[in-house]
Symmetry: C2
Subunit: 332 residues, 2 copies
């Protein structure tokens, strides 16, 4: 689209470009007469309100960046929707990018978003450190970590109590007579997978329960491949999965082996994405308040921007056990 330029404004108002610039940026005083001419031309040409002029004026672009692993995972799509709704209500727009949990892609996205002069960043990254991001935070970039935090930074975050989530699942399984557990976890370099691993091993250290733990990836394919290739899977009473997508893959692979869920083995997920309720069997899982996570993180970020805080607070949301049909019940 042919945009109205500062030149057009200068021409119509009969003043120099630098005078227009002074009026728009407030960088130096301009006489009332000339100011009025410029404003009239600006209005006539529809040059205002322009986000670019506003950016020059107050350094705010009203744009928030969001780096996340993959928008096609419903867990992230729902977080994004929560962020989007909150931010739009407050006059902000969201730019996002999928990193596929690739560190280089994350850093590339960071450069791209910074070149857009975002006012702040929502970040769901991989790994447990990111020197480049830390440097930007030290230089003043406002960041809220979502779902995953990284080491060495005292920043705001919104996460779910992963330890509690794992314990809710194990309580439910143990109460229902399960005594041996196979944990098919997600990507080993992610904060959430690591927290869940630690919580699981802590609970297992009593030595009362047979158990094994594996890191795979947070995808249907990872769950399917793991369960297809794992021999003697029926030595376990239950399979805990790192997220719902992994659980779907595990259940489908078991079915192909002729193993019935939950009659022969129980399977649990993590997240409660909308499809889990309608899976056959409907999935027993731990609900993360995805939409709320996106909202809360955006609220924190706008607070940090408005009040010029380098950090606001860390919010740990409660997960909720959702018992459905993929786990065997010994009592009602």
């Amino acid at each position: 689209m042919k945009k109205v330029s500062i030149k057009d404004v200068a021409k119509l108002s009969g003043v120099s470009i630098s005078t227009v610039s002074r009026v728009l940026t407030g960088s130096a005083p301009v006489s009332k007469e000339l100011t009025e001419k410029v404003i009239k031309a600006v209005q006539e040409l529809g040059y205002s309100p322009s986000s670019i002029a506003r950016s020059l004026r107050n350094g705010a672009t009203k744009t928030i960046g969001f780096i996340l692993p993959d928008i096609t995972n419903p867990f992230f799509a729902h977080i994004v929707r929560g962020a989007e709704d909150y931010l739009r209500k407050h006059g902000y727009t969201l730019i996002f990018g999928s990193s596929d949990q690739d560190k280089n892609e994350e850093n590339h996205l960071l450069d791209v978003l910074l070149s857009k002069h975002i006012d702040g960043l929502l970040f769901t990254g991989s790994g447990d450190s990111n020197p480049k991001l830390l440097r930007k935070i030290e230089q003043g970039l406002k960041v809220v970590f979502l779902d995953r935090i990284i080491r060495g930074v005292n920043s705001s975050y919104v996460i779910v109590d992963n330890k509690k989530g794992i314990n809710l699942l194990l309580d439910h399984l143990i109460e229902n007579g399960h005594e041996s557990f196979l944990f098919v976890n997600g990507d080993k370099n992610t904060f959430s997978a690591k927290q869940r691993h630690v919580a699981f091993m802590e609970r297992m250290k009593s030595g009362k329960y047979k158990h094994e733990h594996y890191f795979t990836g947070f995808s249907y394919r990872a769950g399917y491949n793991f369960a297809s290739q794992f021999d003697d899977i029926l030595e376990f009473d239950a399979i805990l999965c790192g997220n719902d997508l992994i659980a779907f893959g595990v259940i489908d692979a078991l079915e192909e082996k002729g193993i019935h869920v939950p009659e022969q083995i129980s399977v649990t997920g993590f997240d409660d994405i909308p499809f889990s309720k309608h899976y056959k069997p409907a999935l027993t899982t731990v609900r993360q308040p995805m939409y709320e996570m996106g909202q809360k993180a955006s609220e924190l970020l706008l607070l940090m921007i408005k009040e010029q805080l380098s950090t606001a607070e860390g919010i740990i949301l409660d997960p909720e056990l959702v018992v459905r049909e993929s786990t065997r019940r010994t009592k009602i």
Copy 2:
């Protein structure tokens, strides 16, 4: 983040702000000596390359807007991912917004995106006209319509052959002995639902088949509510659904009524979102090449921007029949 401002550059280089502006925008000649001072200050302060300065210089923001119904529908999340990957490869960033198929929200989003000086727009709208958008197109806004087109505009689009999709489904059902059809379609104000309706009625006009058609909404809830409340549903051999989400809702409501799919009635979807393969029963549906749609639309849009075309071409992609377990087979 405290951003380096044009004032800081002026101060460090010892020239006026208007001189800095002239150097950055190229709006008027500046002596070589002063230009070098400004460039040195710009580099020292890390004020370059700035997308805002670039915007002033060449009117391009390298930002594409995308207005779509709802990012939490996997159909759109996969289209977005296709667009995102293509655009990023070409140096562009995506800003998007969910409209919930609300016309006012669509127009509000349009204002927001235009205020960001987007270079072009991908648009999946509701209704069959939009005077405001048409005006913007006449004024030079580059738009590619995705999945849905509107009347009165000779613009670029990427859609799927909806007529062919419906006929593929009906061929499959009729070949397998189905003779009566209930069509639970999506939102009546959308292009795709209307096209599918027309295709269905055309095929039915021979009078050979008992049939009924209803517009509902493109959601699980709409399908579930419809099938829950529809009496004598077994008078039909098959239920065609406007998309996969509707089909999931219909199947679940039928199950609650004790009706077995496909033994007692066949159910089909439209889209082939990734969960449809793993639904129980796995869904017979029509695959839309979602990721490719996002890619193609982005390719057209960048072509229009680069070549300053008001329209490029219309692309109609082929849908593909995917036969799974939700339809009864009378022959192999």
